[in-house]
């Protein structure tokens, strides 16, 4: 038997001895291991709440969202930055009335703007006489 074979034989005996030692584990230890296993499996049955420190995992996203919201609110409330749309809101509503009024809209579309030209001219004359 060469050295390698001797080593193999030795390993075989050691393995058999280890397996035998497992079979000889006494009932008390087996019972403890059984209890430990069931305790571990009990973890699967009871849903666990996420630990409180996990909530900090959402902090960066929440912080960015809050910062964006604050920035939008502050930007919108600056007095010098009122948008033109806001200023002309009333005229926009008047334009809408004009379009909604079907008769007036037809006059404009037909190119019959004579009445309006006359009205504007009368208004100009009136201003000159009063001024």
């Amino acid at each position: 038997m060469n050295a390698d074979e001797q080593l193999e034989e030795f390993e075989k005996r050691a393995r058999a001895l280890l397996e035998e030692s497992v079979t000889r584990i006494d009932a008390r230890i087996r019972s403890r291991l059984n209890q430990a296993r069931h305790a571990a499996l009990g973890e699967l049955e009871t849903p666990r709440r996420a630990p409180w420190w996990r909530l900090f995992g959402l902090a960066p996203a929440a912080g960015v969202a809050a910062a964006v919201l604050v920035a939008v609110v502050l930007w919108g409330s600056r007095p010098g930055q009122m948008t033109p749309v806001a200023e002309n809101a009333s005229s926009a509503v008047e334009d809408l009335d004009l379009v909604a009024d079907g008769e007036t809209f037809d006059l404009i579309q037909q190119g019959d703007g004579g009445f309006y030209e006359w009205a504007v001219a009368q208004a100009d004359v009136g201003q000159e006489t009063t001024g």
Partner: protein, 209 residues
Amino acid sequence: MSAFATLASVYNTPVAMHGAVDITDSNTTTGSRALNQFLASVELKAFKIAQAALRHEHDALDAVQDAMLQLTRAYAHRPAEEWRPLFYRILENRIRDMQRRRSVRARIMAWMPTHRDEDDEEPVDPLSQAASEEMAPTRRLELDEAMTALEKALHDLPARQRQAFLLRNLEGMDVAQVAVAMGCSEGSVKTHHFRALKALRARLGEFST
């Protein structure tokens, strides 16, 4: 001829079927049944591995229990074929933690020479010493001696060598699985295993002549 060499017939005894028992009680759901079977199949061998490293029954039990809990909590959802290497990796980490803690405690206790740590000396349980099956007293004695010598030699091995040897020979894992469990390359596993074998052979050589 020595005890180690002449006990081959004794080893023909089938390995305990404890691990193969399907323990299914009413609380066990289908989802956890596979995990239950897996844990049952490894718990005895895991205990022996922990005991070989720690040489302390309670610590070995604690290590196995912690490994079971950790596997269940963190890896139960993983494919079943991954459980074995993961479990032994967790167990080895746990064993290492306990060894570190023990060495720190020993250093602290060294300053108190009058202190006697009762945990270090386990009471001998007569039940555990009782024969589990009928066997001739002389053969039992030989077997006990061989086991004690092997366990002592295993304990004295470097941790990585012991781990490689036990996972290969006791748990029956292949080199690839052991590499995953040990977190190293397959080449390292082969090296650790071979060195362990040589060291054990050198130490227990008288048993095989």
